[in-house]
């Protein structure tokens, strides 16, 4: 019954994407062309494939994860198409590849379930470290795989396949491997009734329980220093704090995490010029309008000029915002679909996060609980970080917006994330 609804909604999302492309065509006067049909077909194929995989490999999973994700992909696709039809064509391929990835995840976990990931936890940790370190390979290194620096951050890897160069951000997949490792590690190590130690008038958990927190703090600082990637470092650290808190319900982790994060933030500000620039652009984007503040200022203009219902797809100027199809896709949606469009986007994210935490609450064993909570938190916090950056709530951290930003690594990572959540929900309704 609800599976049928899921299928209907996915067709609806494909129709919304195609309708949006039609509107862009009409507004820009190019005439309705094959892009409309192609978009409808690709959305149907991509999400249809994941839907069929869910029916086949995880029939008891909740049907509420895929539709909001499809809506997000549809809304952003309209904007990507509007800003760069060429990139939109590539994004369609990425959608298909990401969907294939999600199908693969569901198929691999079909027999054994998420226990498989628990078994290979240290392999996953190794994979995380390798993926995080991969962009550090020198750009002129011999061999097919090289690191790449773009926009001042070093998070790209180029794989030279001889006939084609593939670019991807390993961090997007590292996120999943890391959460899977952490869930297994915490489920093994930290007992709910952890022994406590007196420290003056406070009682605190055993120091060795806090050790992973400090270790990861050091690791994320390393990411920050070596790759100049503020977003990934913040996300990494926040995920660990959240999962430690979820595993133990000890508030001390929140306090310790807050203090370490605060200390890290202040020292990063003092030590790194690029962090200072980000903070200054956040506090007053108009002080250096032509320079560092330009992107944020354009984003704010876009959101403002969008007003309530937006200029209409194809009728605004979101192409004026630097990185409008990646980090600033939310501002592009705000300009052309208005406040109404942005509220729809945030509501869709809220649905995914709420359903994700619902899965975590219902999960029966600690590992699955932590895995679902960690994946959901990572998804939600990443969304919050970049939206807060665009909306000037926090300094811009430059991280992709799940399901919306243009780019293959992000889509592949988030499709796999949703597939994992669905798989967990399947296992808990046996």
């Amino acid at each position: 019954m609800t599976r049928l609804l899921e299928a209907t909604l996915l067709v609806g999302a494909a129709a919304i994407a195609a309708f949006g492309v039609t509107l862009v065509n009409l507004a820009t006067g190019t005439g309705v062309d094959a892009q409309v049909g192609l978009t409808f077909f690709v959305f149907l194929l991509a999400f249809g494939a994941v839907h069929v995989a869910l029916r086949t490999f995880a029939p008891r999973s909740v049907p509420y994860l895929l539709p909001p994700a499809a809506l997000l992909a549809a809304l952003s696709f309209v904007e990507i198409y509007r800003i760069s039809p060429f990139r939109a064509g590539l994004q369609r391929w990425w959608l298909l590849i990401a969907a294939a990835g999600a199908v693969l995840v569901l198929a691999v976990l079909h027999r054994t379930g998420t226990v498989l990931l628990r078994r290979y936890r240290f392999t996953l940790f190794g994979v995380t470290l390798l993926l995080l370190a991969a962009p550090l390979i020198p750009s002129d290194a011999p061999g097919p795989i090289r690191g790449l620096e773009a926009n001042g951050s070093r998070l790209w890897v180029v794989a030279d396949m001889g006939f084609i160069e593939l670019h991807f951000q390993p961090g997007e997949v590292a996120k999943l491997a890391f959460v899977a490792f952490l869930a297994a590690y915490l489920a093994d190590r930290i007992s709910l009734t952890g022994t406590r130690r007196r420290l003056g008038r406070w009682s605190i958990p055993e120091p060795r329980q806090i050790f992973p927190l400090v270790a990861v703090w050091a690791l994320s600082s390393l990411v920050l220093v070596s790759q100049r990637d503020l977003g990934a470092a913040t996300l990494l650290f926040a995920v660990v704090v959240a999962m430690l808190y979820a595993a133990t319900a000890e508030r001390v982790f929140l306090w310790a995490g807050g203090v370490l994060a605060g200390g890290g933030a202040v020292s990063a500000y003092v030590l790194f010029a690029h962090v200072q620039r980000r903070v200054e652009a956040w506090l007053d984007p108009f002080a250096d309008f032509e320079g560092t503040g330009y992107q944020i200022a354009q984003g704010v203009f876009a959101l403002g000029s969008g007003s309530l219902a937006g200029a209409g797809p194809g009728l605004g100027r979101p192409d004026l915002i630097p990185n409008a199809i990646t980090d600033f896709i939310f501002a592009a949606v705000g300009e052309e679909l208005g406040f109404a469009g942005t509220v729809a986007v945030i509501a869709s994210y809220a649905v995914v996060v709420a359903v994700g935490f619902g899965i975590a609450l219902r999960a029966r064993d600690r590992y699955r609980k932590l895995l679902a909570a960690g994946l959901t938190f990572a998804f939600g916090f990443q969304t919050f970080l970049i939206l807060a950056g665009v909306l000037r709530i926090l300094p811009l951290t430059g991280i992709s917006l799940p399901f919306m930003s243009y780019g293959g690594s992000s889509l592949v990572g988030n499709f796999a994330l949703v597939a994992l959540l669905a798989r967990i929900s399947h296992e808990e309704t046996a």
Partner: protein
Amino acid sequence: MPDVLLTVLRLIFLALVYLFLWQVARSISDHLGLRWQRETRRRGTRVVVIRSDTQAGLDFTVRDAVVLGRSPEADIELADPYASEFHLRLVSRDGRLVLTDLGSTNGTYVNGRRVTAPVELNRGDAIQVGKTVMEVK
């Protein structure tokens, strides 16, 4: 392309987006039983006797509290020799229906399991008293 038509089309586009979200939200609320809970709060819960020698088809609505038993003084009189005088109590509060066994001789079974402590009922649950079976609607 006339501007008016384009404006209408893009408003339809936004309307479709919200229709989509509305459908998602409604199906989730159905899934969680929120709608059922809200209506129950207003109208009470209906319970139907589905198996009994003489009382099959009898239905009653629980709004506050109802006591079932063999005694003529019970709110709902059960014509079942295995039922106690005052067998069980059903209480409806905030859209939730709670069953309490009143120390009956032969016990109360919910979905085949004997009730030892007050238990919350959901739609479709079967209550068995002696040879009488009731269903929560």
